[in-house]
C-alpha cells in the first residue's frame, strides 16, 4: 500500500480532532480530540519514518505518547477539579472571564 495514504489518513484524523475541539462542549471530549490530533501526528511521523527509511519518526512517536500521557494526567486533574466545583464538564460554563 502506498504510504502516502497513511498521510491522508493522518491529515483526516487531525482535521477530525481539530473540528472536535471546535464543536464539542464536554471538556473531556475536547481533550480526547486533542489526543486524536496528537495521534494523527504520530501516524504521520511513523509514515514519514517509513518513507525516509530512518527511525527518528518512530522514536518521536514514542516520545509523543509519553508526553500525551503526561498531558492526560495534568488535564484530567484540572478537568476533574473544575467538574467537582461546577458539577459540569461543559467548557461553555467556564466563561467568567471575558472581554
Amino acid at each position: 500500500m502506498n504510504p502516502v495514504n497513511y498521510l491522508y489518513l493522518a491529515g483526516l484524523l487531525f482535521t477530525i480532532g481539530a473540528s472536535g475541539v471546535l464543536i464539542r462542549r464536554n471538556a473531556i471530549v475536547l481533550f480526547m480530540c486533542v489526543e486524536l490530533m496528537l495521534n494523527a501526528s504520530n501516524l504521520a511521523l511513523v509514515t514519514f519514518s517509513r518513507l525516509h527509511g530512518n527511525l527518528d519518526g518512530q522514536i518521536i512517536a514514542f516520545f509523543t505518547m509519553v508526553v500525551a500521557a503526561a498531558e492526560v494526567v495534568v488535564g484530567l486533574a484540572i478537568i476533574v477539579s473544575i467538574f467537582r466545583t461546577r458539577h459540569s464538564a461543559s467548557v461553555d460554563d467556564s466563561n467568567l472571564m471575558k472581554l
Binding site: V21, M97, L99
Partner: protein
C-alpha cells in the same frame, strides 16, 4: 554741545522713570519735578538752537551715534540722533508747549489722587515724541512712534475707572497700531530694497543724494503709501481718524498735548522727513493730498455738529492737520508751510484746549456747550486767551493762523491746473467752515445767556477763573497765537530756516498772493457771519434740535464708528467666535474623535474575547488556516 542731544530725550524719560518708581514719597512734589524735567529739556533745546544758529547753514545738521542697537548680519539698527532745523523746530515746540501744559496741569490736576502718575505719563509722552523727531533712522523713529502711542494710551485712559475712558484709550492704541503696521511695512520695504533704513544714507542730506533715487518709482510709491498709512494713524487722518474724538476722554491737558505739540503732528513730521521719498513718488503724493483734503473737510464738518467743546476742538484739530498733510503732499512747495502751520497751530490749539479745560474746570467738568453761555464775565482771562486763539485759528488777519493757513492755501492753488483749483477750493471751503464752527464754539461758550445746568450730584456750577498755574500757560500761548505767524513770515525767516532740510520750490499760482489772501479773508468773514446769524442772535436751545441728516451724521462723527463696527468689529468678533468653536470642536474634535474611534474599535473588538474556550480555539484555528494559506500563497506568488 552735541552731547545735549541725548539728554533732550533722557531728561523727561528720567523724570517718568523717577516718578513711576519713586512711589508715594514723591506724591507731594512729583508734579514739580516733572515740570522741571520738561523745562530742562526745553532749556537744552534752546541751548542747542543757539548753538545751531551759530553755525553755517551747511553745518547745522548734527549726528550723534550712541550705540549699536540691533546688529544682525546685514541688518544694522543704531541708536543715533539727528538734529537739524526740522527736528529742533519740533523739539522746541514739543518741549516748550509741553512745559506749559505741565505747568497748567499742576493746577488742573491738583485734586487728583494719582497726579504723580499723570505727570510721569506726561514726561513719558514728551520723551517718546522727542525720540520720534530726533531719531536718525526709521526703526528708532518707530520706537518713539509707538512710545507716543503708549503714552497717549496711558493718558487718554488716565481716568481708568470710567469705562468710556478705558475704551477710548484702547481704541486710540489700536487704530494707531494699524498705522504702525504701515510704518513697519515701510521699514521692511526699505530694508529689502536698500539694506538700510537710516535717514542719512537713504534720504541723503543737503547736497547729497540718498539711495532712494535708485529705486523704481513703484517701490517708492509703495513705501510712500505705507508711510502715509502710518501718518494717518498718528495724525488722525481719514480713514484712521476715529480715535481722535474719543480721545477727549482723557484729562484736558492731555488733549492739548496730543493735539498741539505731540502725537498728531508726528504724521506731518514723518511725511516731511521722508520728503526725498515722496518727491520721487508722485502717486503717493497725490494720495497724501487727497487724504489731507478729505480729512480737512471731514474734520471741519464734524467740528460743526459737536456740542461737546472738546470734541468740537478735536474736529478742528483733525481739519487743521488735514491742512498740514495736504501741504506736505504738495511736495517742496508745501513742506515748509505745513511745518509752519503746525507750529502756529501748536500755539493756538494748545491755547484753545487749555482754555476749554479752564472752562470745564470752572463748570464742574461740564463739556456740553449748550450748558455754557455768558461765561466771558466770569472768566475774563480765559475768555481773552481763548478768544485770541479763536482769532488765530480762523485766520484773523495779522494773527498766527492767518499767515500759516494763507500760505497753505496759496500753495494749494500753486499746485497748478485743475488740481490746483480743486485743492484751492477745498482749502478755502475749509477756512470758511473753520470760521463757522469756531465762532459757534465761541458764541455758545462765552456769549449769550446762561444755560448752566446742575451736575449729576445737583451742584449748581459756580464759574470762576482758574488758578495762576493754569492762567500763565494760557497767556503765554496766547502770545504765541498772536505773534508766531507774523514772526515766521517776516523776511520769510521760517522758509529760510527750514529750506535746507525740506527743500522748497515756488509754485506757479494762477492767483496772486494778495488775491488768495483776500478770498481767504472773505471766506472767513462769511463763516463768522453765518455762525453769528445762527447762534449769536437767538437763544440757543439747551436740548439740541434734531437737525438735518448731515448734522446727525456729523454728530456721530460721520458714522465712522458705525462703519468700523459693521465692517471690522462685528465680522471680527464673529470670526473669533467661530474660530473658538472650530478649535474646540474642529481640531480638538478631530483628535477626540480619533480617540473615540479607537475606543469604539476597542470595545467592539473586545466582544471577540467572549470567554468561551471553544471560540478561542476557533480563532486559533482560523488563524492557523490563514497562516497556512498565506504561507502557501507567498510561495505561489
Amino acid at each position: 554741545m552735541n552731547s545735549l542731544i541725548p539728554l533732550l530725550v533722557a531728561a523727561p524719560l528720567a523724570g517718568a522713570a523717577l516718578l513711576l518708581l519713586g512711589g508715594r514719597r514723591l506724591d507731594r512734589f512729583g508734579h514739580w519735578l516733572a515740570t522741571a524735567f520738561a523745562a530742562l529739556s526745553f532749556a537744552f533745546g534752546l541751548a542747542l538752537l543757539a548753538s545751531m544758529l551759530g553755525r553755517e547753514t551747511a553745518e547745522r545738521q548734527v549726528d550723534v551715534n550712541l550705540f549699536s542697537w540691533i546688529p544682525v548680519n546685514g541688518f544694522q539698527a543704531d541708536v543715533g540722533f539727528q538734529l537739524d532745523q526740522l527736528s529742533i523746530t519740533f523739539v522746541l515746540l514739543i518741549t516748550g508747549v509741553g512745559t506749559l501744559i505741565h505747568l497748567y496741569s499742576v493746577g488742573y490736576m491738583a485734586h487728583d489722587e494719582r497726579r504723580r502718575r499723570f505727570f510721569a505719563y506726561l514726561n513719558l509722552f514728551l520723551a517718546a515724541m522727542l525720540l520720534l523727531v530726533l531719531a536718525d533712522n526709521y526703526l528708532l523713529l518707530y520706537v518713539g512712534w509707538e512710545g507716543v502711542g503708549l503714552a497717549s494710551y496711558l493718558l487718554i485712559g488716565f481716568w481708568q475707572h470710567k469705562p468710556s475712558a478705558a475704551t477710548a484709550a484702547k481704541k486710540a492704541f489700536l487704530v494707531n497700531r494699524v498705522g504702525d503696521m504701515g510704518l513697519s511695512i515701510a521699514i521692511m520695504l526699505m530694508f529689502a530694497e536698500f539694506g538700510s533704513f537710516a535717514f542719512g544714507p537713504l534720504l541723503g542730506s543737503e547736497g547729497t543724494a540718498g539711495a532712494v533715487g535708485q529705486a523704481s518709482e513703484g517701490k517708492l510709491t509703495a513705501i510712500g503709501l505705507m508711510l502715509l498709512l502710518a501718518a494717518c494713524g498718528k495724525s488722525a487722518q481719514v480713514p484712521l481718524q476715529s480715535w481722535l474724538g474719543d480721545a477727549m476722554e482723557g484729562p484736558t491737558p492731555v488733549s492739548a498735548l496730543i493735539h498741539a505739540a505731540t502725537m498728531v503732528t508726528a504724521g506731518v513730521y514723518l511725511i516731511t522727513r521722508s520728503a526725498s521719498i515722496f518727491n520721487l513718488a508722485p502717486d503717493a503724493q497725490t494720495t497724501v493730498v487727497v487724504v489731507g483734503a478729505v480729512t480737512l473737510i471731514f474734520g471741519a464738518i464734524v467740528g460743526c455738529a459737536k456740542d461737546d467743546i472738546k470734541k468740537a476742538l478735536a474736529g478742528s484739530t483733525m481739519s487743521q492737520i488735514g491742512y498740514m498733510i495736504l501741504a506736505a503732499g504738495l511736495g517742496p512747495i508745501g513742506y515748509v508751510y505745513a511745518i509752519m502751520h503746525l507750529v502756529t497751530h501748536g500755539f493756538f490749539k494748545a491755547g484753545l484746549f487749555l482754555g476749554a479745560g479752564s472752562v470745564m474746570h470752572g463748570m464742574n467738568d461740564e463739556v456740553n456747550m449748550r450748558h455754557y453761555g455768558g461765561l466771558r464775565k466770569y472768566m475774563p482771562v480765559t475768555f481773552v486767551t481763548f478768544g485770541l486763539g479763536y482769532l488765530a485759528i480762523i485766520g484773523f488777519p495779522g494773527l498766527s493762523g492767518f499767515f500759516s493757513k494763507d500760505k497753505i492755501i496759496e500753495a494749494a492753488f500753486a499746485k497748478g491746473g485743475t488740481e490746483g483749483w480743486i485743492l484751492g477750493g477745498v482749502t478755502l471751503l475749509g477756512a470758511a467752515i473753520t470760521a463757522f464752527y469756531m465762532t459757534r464754539v465761541m458764541l455758545l461758550t462765552f456769549f449769550g445767556e446762561k444755560r448752566w445746568q446742575p451736575d449729576a450730584e445737583g451742584h449748581e456750577p459756580h464759574p470762576h477763573e482758574s488758578p495762576s498755574t493754569m492762567k500763565i500757560p494760557m497767556i503765554v500761548l496766547a502770545f504765541g497765537s498772536v505773534f508766531a505767524g507774523g514772526l515766521f513770515t517776516l523776511n520769510s525767516s521760517f522758509l529760510h530756516w527750514l529750506e535746507p532740510v525740506t527743500g522748497h520750490a515756488e509754485g506757479d499760482s494762477p492767483l496772486s498772493p494778495l488775491t488768495v489772501t483776500l478770498i481767504t479773508t472773505l471766506c472767513m468773514v462769511a463763516g463768522v457771519a453765518v455762525s453769528y446769524l445762527m447762534y449769536g442772535r437767538s437763544p440757543v436751545p439747551v436740548v439740541p434740535p434734531v437737525g438735518s441728516a448731515l448734522t446727525r451724521a456729523a454728530r456721530r462723527d460721520l458714522l465712522q464708528d458705525d462703519f468700523n463696527h459693521a465692517v471690522l468689529v462685528r465680522p471680527g468678533s464673529a470670526l473669533a467666535a467661530a474660530l473658538v468653536y472650530f478649535d474646540s470642536r474642529g481640531l480638538d474634535g478631530f483628535v477626540n474623535g480619533l480617540a473615540a474611534t479607537i475606543g469604539g474599535v476597542s470595545s467592539r473588538l473586545r466582544r471577540i474575547q467572549n470567554g468561551y474556550v471553544r471560540s478561542y480555539a476557533l480563532s486559533m484555528f482560523g488563524g492557523t488556516l490563514v497562516l497556512v494559506a498565506t504561507t502557501l500563497l507567498m510561495r505561489s506568488v
